[in-house]
């Protein structure tokens, strides 16, 4: 933690997005989401709804979860439409 001599004037934060240094993945308690790729239709709803930007997307295609930040809320699993009624995200017990 910085000492008083390093405090910027007005305590203005000059490094945008510095919150990324806080790995909120450690908050996950009981469950973590698991992606079942074969059921995924790449609708990207999980990417949009995730409050913690923990679904990676590349070139319009859904990628893995980012467990560094995922808090395990389960919203993605609830909202995932999946393929023919089979969810592409399930919540499973957290392994620490």
């Amino acid at each position: 933690m910085i000492g008083w001599k390093d405090i910027p004037p007005g305590m203005v934060i000059l490094e945008a997005g510095s919150a990324m240094k806080i790995k909120t993945g450690s908050w996950r308690a009981a469950y973590r989401p698991k992606w079942i790729e074969e059921n995924c239709i790449h609708c990207l709803l999980c990417w949009l709804y995730c409050p913690d930007n923990s679904v990676k997307v590349k070139d319009g295609k859904r990628g893995e979860f980012d467990y560094d930040y995922c808090k395990g809320c389960g919203i993605c699993a609830v909202e995932c439409p999946g393929k023919k009624g089979n969810k592409a995200i399930v919540m499973e017990e957290e392994v620490k």
Partner: protein, 318 residues
Amino acid sequence: MATPLNLKELSKQEIRFTAGHRLCAGCAAPTVVKMILLAACDYPVVAASSTGCLEVSSCISTYTAWKIPWIHNAFENAAATLSGVETMYRALKKQGKIDRDIKFIAICGDGGTYDIGFQSLSGAMERGHDMLYVCYDNGAYMNTGIQRSGATPTFADTTTCPAGAVIPGKPQQRKDLTRIMAAHGIPYVAQASPSHWPDLMKKVRKAIETPGAKFINIFTPCNRGWRSRTDDAILLSRLAVETCFWPLYEVENGVTRVTVKPKEKKPIVEFLKAQGRFKHIFEPGREQMIEAIQQAIDKNWERLLKEEEISASGEKAE
């Protein structure tokens, strides 16, 4: 060309509100912020927030989740603060010191909007600053521990209107802030919900493309304050729309339009029963309370539809 509002295209845009923020797991506020900033992705944005959950959790110590310029001044003055930023922008632009086309967006809680910040908001809107004010309405003062606000729904249990033997939660009805803002006669006012994200993003985009003062009220579930599940923020916001608890509409230059009409209006019970803050009204002998809530919703929905009809006929007559 404007970025199309589809997820494939939007997912290529930078999300200007990063992970690493300290909002609760499953809080809808960051999702709402993300949607707003994605809808505004074609512009540089300067934002302001009032004191509250979003503010304390997004910018703490030397860590900020904002990738855009952002200012938190105090609880009740985000609108006045941003009106100052916007005025400086106009001043410097006029002097040729800035040439960028910047958008100004305030994102504030219901306490900072309906209640303590209402004067500041009303003043800024009346003055017509070129800015969009968004309220993320979670229906209470969550940051200080779930106290009632002017946005708290009738009969909800909060820490300052706890459901007791004599007083069953908040006795009063909610303040209809969206209508009050429409009464300011500003060019654009709307209500939105993250469950209906294309509607929400279209509204944000329309708002930022419209010159002058704009206001959007966004339904923003809070699982901690509502005592609901951490995974149901989007589900609950969808139910709020489908039960007509939170109608999706806009008032554009005085013309009201309901933008999403539920195919079949669901009974309010479905919305209420998923939330611990309404648990007490399901006790036997309190049936009339649910009935009263349903009646208020029906009445408001009818009124809104009528308002839309009058609006439309007025437009035709012009």
